[in-house]
């Protein structure tokens, strides 16, 4: 668990960070909280010559909550997301999910940007951001662009971000008042990746489901935004048949792999149970 040697950079602004990336190409990686990258370096599975630490970049910090959109700097920690009252009031799903990430020590250091940008299918925030329909702001040498969370993930550790880009901010539409929400997760222990997790948003209009969004975590090599599962709820009264149809549709699109948490049939079953609980909780909160 001893990493190989590397050069350490600590730029103070995004432009400097990008120029370091540009100079060193795939020899360089940015590090935010480091919970994924540092262990990989210690295991010598990530071999890089230049480590670009983003913690001094002020423009990547802070939480702004507007009427329609909340903007999270990529360096916002999970702890900051949990303790920000304005964010919790606007998008309570974020707090509910962040509280299920590891333990307080990890959450003091782990960042939302690192969590979504790394492309690790075990991370909770990517699915959450897909559920919320967030937009990721990517800064490169030629300026910024945004990519929808739902379009960002290509395969495990492969994303729409170019090597010389940095994910700087996350723009999240604020759900309408009365939106029901739930983040449900099964894990073996604190600090473990999910055996299965799911994020659900539901809005009701009278007795009818007006809209829904469902995302599943660690059940494929990317997060899964289960469009058909959500569609199975919309226009219904969220009756038993609709909820069962949503679960069936979600199980249809996930593709879990066997690991120490269990084999595929177990994971699919648990995913269905977890999603059903998330739908039930979100429905109970929707008004």
């Amino acid at each position: 668990m001893i990493p190989a040697g590397f050069e350490y950079h600590r730029p103070a602004d995004v432009a400097s960070a990008i120029s370091i990336l540009k100079q060193h190409g795939d020899e360089a990686r940015v590090v935010a909280g480091g919970h994924s990258l540092i262990p990989m370096m210690k295991l010598r599975m990530a071999d890089l010559a230049h480590l670009v630490d983003l913690q001094d970049i002020g423009e990547m910090k802070g939480i702004q909550v507007g009427a329609d959109t909340a903007v999270l700097g990529a360096m916002v920690t999970q702890h900051e997301m949990i303790t920000h009252e304005g964010l919790a009031a606007a998008i309570p799903l974020i707090r509910e999910a962040a509280l299920q990430i590891a333990d307080p020590q990890v959450r003091y250091v782990g960042t939302v940007g690192g969590n979504v940008a790394n492309g690790d299918p075990g991370n909770d925030m990517p699915g959450l951001m897909q559920c919320l329909d967030a937009q990721f702001e990517l800064a490169g040498a030629d300026g910024s662009r945004t990519v929808a969370a739902r379009d960002f993930y290509e395969a495990a550790y492969f994303t729409a971000r170019d090597d010389e880009e940095i994910l700087t901010r996350i723009h999240i539409p604020v759900p309408s008042a009365g939106t029901g929400y739930a983040y449900e997760k099964q894990k073996r222990k604190i600090g473990d990746y999910a055996t299965a997790a799911s994020a659900v948003l539901i809005t009701m209009d009278g007795g009818t489901c007006a809209s829904a969004s469902i995302a599943m975590t660690n059940l494929a090599d990317t997060p899964i935004w289960a469009e058909a599962a959500a569609a199975a709820l919309v226009g219904t009264s969220l009756d038993e048949a609709a909820r069962a149809a949503a679960v069936a549709a979600a199980i249809d699109v996930i593709d879990p792999v066997s690991d120490n948490r269990g084999p595929v049939d177990f994971k699919k079953h648990v995913a269905g149970v977890i999603l059903r609980r998330a739908i039930d909780r979100a429905a109970s909160r929707a008004s």
Binding site: K189, G262, F266, V273, I274
Partner: protein, 805 residues
């Protein structure tokens, strides 16, 4: 004097002696980050070692190319078996009478085996160089199943080719290590053949690992001027390490000083000798510089001593009324690539023959076959006496299986089979003499405390609700009554590599009445500095706060066999009391002289000797200590010191009654412990607070083992659980609340009646958690499934019983 106005109760309280919940004196430094662990040791010019390890479980080592590694600035040496061979150190003896490669000698037998040892002037350089050592392997067929190992043509230990006799008798197959038997085979089989009822089951206790918070490591420092070797390390048995180092290195024992500094948990992992120690010593001898080696977490889990891995085939016979008449067990023991168990030499399967448990079983038979496989060596006693957790798990599962067969309540089945109080000392069918016990009292106390009948009624209601579709949760009630055998042990039958398993204590009273005590044991978190001082305080009458306790330095501490198997209190604790009594005997003579009466006319009273019948005439221990050094007393030599080497007449037999109540979510496989009640009887209680801490710690490790912790291999012999992501270590979040209780049945042969407690909660906890899981599914026809009961395995059980619709 202030003393004179104090009541006897106040004087007793001042001592903070036995029975006091004295705060741990060690914690002052530990809670302030001022502990001194082996990795804290820094010496001038110190070098660092790191291993090149095998990625394969079974392979021939074709070549090792050191060139690229040696080319890095700062690399001092790269050692291979070839370099160690001229010194005769490429293999080393194990504690189990086998031998083990220090560095791969032509082949590797498990993933993570040590192949080359890199020495550099910087820890990071050592790691860089280890990566550059090029090893060419030729893969060989891998054997991970112990049953398959006994059938296959694949020979694991080619070095033993043609040897039909091992350290423990005949070898039946080239991958067979030993057969060990206890009890009467024919008689037991006859009882089973003629029994009203026989329950039969395979009980598997999976492979796991002690995984102490601090991994293993050492600093070897050879002083070429004095010719003295100082070896600091994570040693649970520093004196034994000194002797073994002397025997295998040829360095005279007086030129070796072994020091165990603060140790961050051992749990059996730090009893044996590892290649890292040998390589560091060799590297220090060759370079003349101190060499540090500290393993990382993955190395610890993959290569240093594992625990358990026992396949126990059992048959238990009973009358139709439930009186047990016989017990039969055949165990297949997976020892990995080398037999490196840390058991007393005459007990290659440890004290597995305690497997008749708490029950009066007239006839029994046990056979254990040790087997080589392509897994890491070990088989240590992980927070238990030697193989006692395996034995307890076996019998407590067999009792449950028998209860199902008899359609009898498992609590009642236990009650009617317990050894009765009037049967102690009790001779077990497998050869032990249980010293003392009162199982019925403990059991009834436990059943009353948890409201057993109400729990069963609640469970029945829950089951009814489940069947009616009102809940998806099942309730399980786990019961265990365990009997341990600890405190190895009597030298007549207990030795390790010929070293008798006595222990020792030396006490020096200073002229002003404070004291220094040294023991042959070594604390790894048990709180020896706190508790042993309490024994001395009660025995001699000087306050525990005035006693310094030292362990772990072989140049100063008296010889002893160390701390494991709950032996510190039973053996070294007895030595401490006996040394105290020697001092008290001399103090009595001094007091009598000072009081101008005959020796027999004074008696010990808390912290002083008083003239019988005239308590106003006394000498305090403080006064006696000063006189011992500074007053010429005819016929008595100056000073007040004593040493005791204690060879125990018997083991001690702590016991306990545990109850676990948990709720299982049949859809996710999650289990939540809602109640855990632990009654321990460890004989005389020295420090109730430390006992409670020990019980909490042991139960949490039991929870880990029962509910998820394992060292798992794939069919290629790759370790699947080599990090703490997959190896279950409970945090505060996963740890339930524990309710502790006790009865007190002193050991009749121990000077203070103490039996030891540190391992009881692991021995009793594992079957209790597991029995609760089994119990939840009992109504659906489950008799036996295997640990660990992680979410997937519980789900699989529920699925297999048709509970998912």
């Amino acid at each position: 004097m202030k003393d004179e106005v104090q009541t006897p109760a106040e004087r007793t309280a001042n001592l903070k002696g036995m029975g006091t919940s004295r705060k741990r004196v060690e914690d002052v430094r530990f809670t302030q980050g001022r502990g001194n662990y082996v990795d804290d040791i820094k010496m001038d010019g110190m070098l660092y070692g790191d291993f090149v390890r095998s990625p394969y479980a079974h392979a021939r080592v074709v070549s090792v190319n050191k060139e690229a590694a040696l080319a890095i600035p700062g690399v001092v040496a790269v050692l291979t078996a070839e370099d160690l061979e001229p010194l005769g150190l490429h293999w080393m003896p194990t504690l189990a009478g086998d031998k083990q490669m220090v560095l791969a000698d032509g082949k590797v037998l498990f993933q993570g085996q040590e192949v080359a040892y890199v020495v550099a002037d910087d820890r990071y350089v050592a790691a860089d160089a280890a990566e550059l050592v090029e090893v060419e392997y030729e893969e060989l067929p891998v054997v991970v199943d112990p049953f398959e190992a006994l059938k296959t043509d694949v020979v694991l230990r080619e070095d033993l080719a043609g040897q039909t006799e091992g350290a423990h008798g005949p070898r039946k197959h080239h991958n067979h290590i030993f057969t060990w038997e206890a009890g009467e085979k024919d008689a037991t089989e006859a009882v089973i053949a003629g029994a009203d009822v026989v329950a039969e089951e395979m009980v598997y206790y999976h492979r796991t690992h002690p995984c102490p918070l601090e991994t293993c490591g050492c600093v070897a420092s050879m002083d070429k001027v004095t010719g003295k070797l100082t070896l600091y390390g994570t040693f649970q048995a520093p004196h034994a390490i000194r002797t073994v180092v002397s025997l295998i290195s040829g360095i005279a024992e007086h030129n070796i000083r072994v020091i165990s500094p603060d140790i961050g948990g051992g749990f059996g992992n730090k009893v044996g000798a590892y290649p890292g120690y040998v390589c560091s010593v060799v590297a220090s001898i060759v370079t003349g510089k101190p060499v540090k080696w500290i393993e990382d977490r993955m190395e610890n889990l993959m290569s240093t001593a594992f625990a358990r891995d026992y396949w126990m085939q059992g048959k238990i016979a009973a009358t139709s009324e439930g009186k047990i008449t016989g017990l039969w067990c055949h165990t297949t023991a997976d020892h990995g690539g080398f037999d490196a168990c840390a058991d007393p030499t005459k007990f290659p399967a440890g004290f597995m023959n305690i497997c008749t448990g708490s029950y009066d079983i007239p006839t029994a038979y046990l056979a254990v076959d040790g087997v080589y496989t392509n897994k890491a060596p070990g088989g240590v006693a992980y927070r238990c006496s030697f193989r006692v957790t395996e034995a307890a798990y076996f019998i407590e599962r067999m009792i449950e299986v028998l209860a199902i067969k008899l359609n009898m309540d498992a609590a009642e089945l236990r009650r009617i089979n317990f050894i009765r109080k009037d049967q102690f000392p009790y001779q077990s069918a497998l050869g032990w003499e249980y010293d003392s016990g009162d199982y019925h009292t403990a059991w009834d106390k436990a059943m009353n405390a948890v409201g057993y009948d109400d729990l069963r009624a609640e469970q029945a209601q829950q089951l009814e609700d489940f069947n009616a579709g009102k809940t998806r949760k099942l309730m399980g009630i786990g019961l265990t009554h365990f009997t341990e055998i600890v405190g190895a042990g009597p030298v007549k039958n207990c030795d390790i590599l010929g070293l008798g398993m006595f222990d020792s204590c030396e006490i020096r009273i200073h002229p002003t009445g404070s004291a220094l005590a040294r023991l042959g044991t070594i604390s790894q978190g048990q709180g020896h500095a706190t508790t042993f001082a309490q024994i001395i305080a009660s025995e001699i009458g000087i306050p525990a706060d005035d006693i310094t306790l030292e362990e772990g330095d072989t140049d100063t501490a008296p010889y002893g066999l160390g701390t494991y198997g709950s032996r510190s209190t039973p053996v070294a604790g007895a030595a401490t009391a006996m040394a105290g009594r020697k001092i008290r005997a001399k103090a009595q003579m001094i007091a009598a002289y000072l009081l101008e009466v005959h020796d027999d006319d004074v008696e010990f009273d808390i912290d002083r000797f008083v003239v019988k019948g005239a308590p106003e005439r006394f000498k305090t221990m403080k006064e006696i200590a000063f006189a011992a050094y500074n007053q010429a007393i005819p016929g008595i030599e100056p000073g007040l010191e004593a040493v005791s080497y204690y060879d125990p007449p018997n083991m001690t037999y702590p016991f306990g009654a545990y109850v676990c109540v948990l709720d299982i979510d049949v859809d996710t496989g999650e289990a939540e412990v809602r109640q855990f009640y632990a009654l321990d009887d460890c004989g005389t209680r020295i420090n109730p607070m430390i006992i409670e801490g020990q019980v909490h710690g042991g139960l949490t490790e039991a929870l880990a083992i029962a509910m998820g912790q394992e060292i798992a291999y794939d069919e290629m012999g790759n370790v699947k659980t080599g990090t703490l992501m997959d190896f279950f270590w409970p945090t505060a979040w996963e740890t339930p609340n524990y309710q502790t209780d006790h009865t007190t049945t002193p050991s009749p042969h121990h000077p203070i009646g103490a039996k030891g407690v540190g391992e009881s909660p692991n021995v009793g906890g594992v079957p209790c958690f597991s029995n609760a899981v089994h119990d939840a599914f009992k109504s659906f026809g489950l008799t036996q499934t295997h640990m660990p009961h992680d979410h997937w395995r519980i789900w699989k059980t529920a699925n297999g019983l048709g509970l998912h619709g």
